[in-house]
Symmetry: C2
Subunit: 339 residues, 2 copies
């Protein structure tokens, strides 16, 4: 393993840093006026399928906020779209699959992802790596979270069909999750090959599961993703909302960095994940508060991190669209040591 | 405190029982064909505002499932409606407030609840107490969860406006929550006066909060509700989804019974809540699984309860509408010791 020079990559490796690195989940998105202006002209998948637009949107927050890492602008359903699974992005709803996954026959639709299926992704990565002064984080959805959209047919609050499949046909569920794990591995290897310096796996909805179900039915597929990247010299970050009671298992997934949501105290969570680096964990809604409240909460996260190496500052979930980017900029400055 | 004879009330008090008592959150609801038939004829608020229909719907699951307790069929917004706050129940959405709570002036709309504001509630309780062979549980929403609907104007995934108010105007937020606490106390005292033998306070969305915010901004109002009932000889149950990391605080709220969601192991949660009784905590989606899976998971909850007094069996969240009531009936029999 080579020793990196950037703050962000050093923190992911548990190495000493000159200042705590910071980036924000969904830093590229609706909180930025320049993003909204671009999205007024282009549909979501137009952006994703254009290397140029993807690169532009990915760079917007780096320019405006001074963050220490960029993350590829994408969506967890993009690899499925790339292998020909029909998916729509409905405004105010999210990704919708008109033909949800229902039976074993649907496995045939999940063919392997080939490099030429999504050239716009690797092209965007190459453009970004050439232009950026900070590391680029690659992006993929974790098997369970992607499966939940595919099985439900769209976003859900209860994951009823997904869990019914998990309980009723555990072997089929496992094959589905493993196919999605392989898809994530192919996508992330492609991004790393094109120059991504780290990857983040989003298991956003893993927190919907009872702990035993997570361990039995989901963790093996997540582990398969991280194992599939183990030969590559890039930090692997895991993130899931509501996973405070699953952190011990997530620490055993093969991740190098455990993303924390805002329901845990960073110091206590760190005790659970052992020697791994952690990322997080300011409640994104705090960024809607008056500045003195924001500052106090930023300081609390930093105090809990205690100046020990192995902390990447982030929110505990994505930036809310209502957020004022000027506040995010001040958060970055404060994390870096300004006041 | 008198010593109760029913299984359910004895378990709430930590007394020995002949079999573990069981009921299900949302046992009265869309999983029952007789409920759907009634709702085809009557709108939601027609049911709630009729003592006769409320009693009928409340009794349906007792007849069909053989549960050890009934819970008043209602909604957490009913006391607000009763004092004249406009609220609509939108199918597939939930309660919607066309005029959300925004400023201090809105506090004036939250006048105290008087006994004659909602005679249909106490009348329904009286009908039920006369007809039921099992205890009736009274029902109210906790201040934070009710506030979240009132401030957002309806259901939310992020509680953005509610949290922004909490951070930005903490004193106004506190006054709002205390007004809603007083509303809950008045409603629950009315139900108890009419014969309810226990009460459950639903803080369904408290799990959306970071732990420090829960403790600072929400727990005092919850405590105010339970204190307002302390002179009455009925068990007070607290329930919230995603509260596994808040259980220590909830145990200090004045509740006698802590409802557990399905994200915790019942035995571990019990260690956290000390000597209090617990209620829960089967994942409702398990009830959509083949029977052998259901049976195994029911047995696991019972094994974790370990036959110690002070356990009321329940789901870890409400019954899913897709649930087959025949499965719920079998769960009841299994909890009672049948196979």
């Amino acid at each position: 393993m080579s020793e990196p020079t950037s703050r962000f990559l050093r923190a992911c490796r548990g190495l000493d840093v000159d200042a705590t690195p910071v980036w924000f989940m969904r830093q590229a998105g609706r909180s930025l006026p320049e993003f909204r202006a671009l999205r007024d002209k282009w549909a979501f998948f137009d952006v994703v399928r254009s290397a140029e637009l993807t690169a532009e949107v990915t760079m917007q927050p780096v320019r405006r906020l001074g963050v220490d890492a960029a993350i590829l602008f994408s969506d967890i359903v993009v690899p499925l779209m790339a292998i020909g699974v029909e998916v729509e992005m409905r405004p105010g709803v999210g990704p919708v699959f008109p033909e949800p996954f229902r039976t074993e026959a649907d496995l045939a639709r999940l063919r392997p992802l080939e490099p030429l299926d999504a050239p716009y992704v690797t092209d965007a990565v190459k453009v970004l790596v050439a232009e950026l002064d900070v590391p680029l984080i690659g992006f993929a959805g974790a098997p369970f979270t992607v499966a939940s959209y595919l099985v439900e047919g769209g976003p859900s609050r209860t994951y009823t069909r997904t869990k019914a499949l998990m309980y009723g046909e555990p072997d089929l569920f496992r094959r589905l999750l493993f196919a999605l794990a392989d898809l994530a591995v192919s996508s992330l290897r492609g991004q790393i090959g094109a120059g991504a310096a780290a990857v983040q796996l989003f298991d956003s909805w893993a927190g919907a599961l009872a702990p035993d179900d997570y361990r039995t039915h989901v963790l093996p597929a997540t582990r398969r993703v991280f194992e599939g990247l183990a030969d590559l010299d890039v930090p692997r970050i895991h993130y899931g909302l509501g996973t405070g009671l699953l952190l011990g298992d997530i620490a055993a997934s093969g991740a190098d960095v455990v993303g924390l949501d805002f329901h845990v105290h960073l110091d206590e969570a760190r005790d659970v994940v052992g020697g791994l680096a952690v990322q997080g964990n300011l409640d994104p809604s705090v960024c809607l508060a008056p500045w003195d409240v924001v500052a106090g909460r930023v300081d609390d996260v930093l105090a809990r991190a205690g100046g020990r190496p192995g902390h990447v500052f982030n929110l505990g979930h994505g930036v809310l669209p209502e957020t004022d980017p000027a506040i995010l900029r001040r958060v970055v400055e404060r994390v870096h040591g300004g006041r």
